[in-house]
Amino acid sequence: MERAEIESKLKELLVDELGLDGDKIKSDARFEEDLEVDSLGVVELLMALEDNFGVQIPDEEAESIGTVGEAVDLVVAKLGG
């Protein structure tokens, strides 16, 4: 899967599953500060990533996700590796 494809799929998940405003979802947008995603929302995001991309994200790796771009990076790395 291409990076652009992963990015657009992720954006779709954020809008559909977390109810975020699509216009605010930029690569450097921070989940907690800019998008107002609470701690349970971050867990929901991880579950959505795992279910939709078929990857496993352990807690240690989940901590590296602060922005939308970092979430894309992680999925790209998981699918590439």
């Binding site: 599953e17 609470d38 349970l40 929901e44 579950m47």
Partner: protein, 244 residues
């Protein structure tokens, strides 16, 4: 009301009455059991005869893998769980001075670990659906303590703390989490008590008698209904006025 309800330990006693009540209220019911297969099938047959929908599913709910597979089977056969009733429980009484670590572990695992495992599994779809009801069966023993039940009362008190924490964790997603604490209810579990003990207990109950499983089930039915939409993190005592 429609949707899917999973009741753990639903082959007998209070769990059985809860399964029957939820089925009457329109839920498709997953009747979980550990070993009482024939009794679980009887509950299913009773629900089906009344025009309801149910399946009997064996699982040791203190085992993480068994719980995952239970939820996946329920989802496949009935749909995602909207109401979870954590009812499965055992007793293995003894004074603490004579209680073995195994007696402690088995009661804590079946009565408390199972609640964590099933709640975790259920929340996955409930959080996504932005709705759900979790009802945990605690006990007056977990509120007031009971000699000979150090393990049981610890597990039942643990359920209360867990109920309140989870209620706070998932309230923002439209999920309610409550506990029901029955007092002395006529079931197989209390049948082993001698007549003298029962007489003594009944004297301490304001209503002067033991409760019936259906009297607990009706509270669970209420908490599962849309009428209870603004109640969460609560412990509702159903004991005929024992713990006053």
């Amino acid at each position: 009301m429609s949707g899917v309800a999973l009741v753990t330990g639903a082959a007998r006693g209070i769990g059985r009455e809860i399964a029957l009540k939820l089925a009457r209220d329109g839920f498709a019911v997953a009747v979980n059991y550990a070993s009482s297969e024939a009794k679980a099938e009887k509950v299913v047959a009773q629900i089906e005869t009344a025009g309801g929908r149910a399946v009997a599913l064996q699982a040791d709910v203190s085992d993480p893998d068994a719980v995952i597979s239970l939820f996946s089977t329920v989802t496949d056969e009935l749909g995602p769980v909207h109401v979870l009733v954590n009812n499965a429980g055992i007793t293995d009484d003894g004074l603490v001075l004579r209680m073995s670590a195994d007696q402690w572990d088995s009661v804590l695992n079946t009565n408390l670990r199972s609640v964590f495992l099933c709640t975790k599994a259920a929340l996955r779809s409930m959080v996504r659906a932005r709705s759900g009801r979790i009802i945990n069966i605690s006990s007056v023993s977990g509120i007031s303590g009971n000699p000979g039940q150090g393990n049981y009362s610890a597990a039942k008190a643990g359920i209360i703390g867990f109920t309140k924490s989870v209620a706070k964790e998932v309230g923002s997603r439209g999920i309610t989490v409550n506990a029901v604490a029955p007092g002395f209810i006529k079931t197989d579990m209390t049948e082993t008590l001698g007549a003298a003990v029962i007489d003594g207990v009944e004297q301490q109950i304001a209503l002067g008698r033991m409760g019936l499983p259906k009297e607990v089930a009706s509270m669970v039915g209420y908490l599962a209904s849309s009428d209870a939409s603004y109640i969460t993190g609560q412990v509702i005592v159903v004991d005929g006025g024992l713990a006053l």
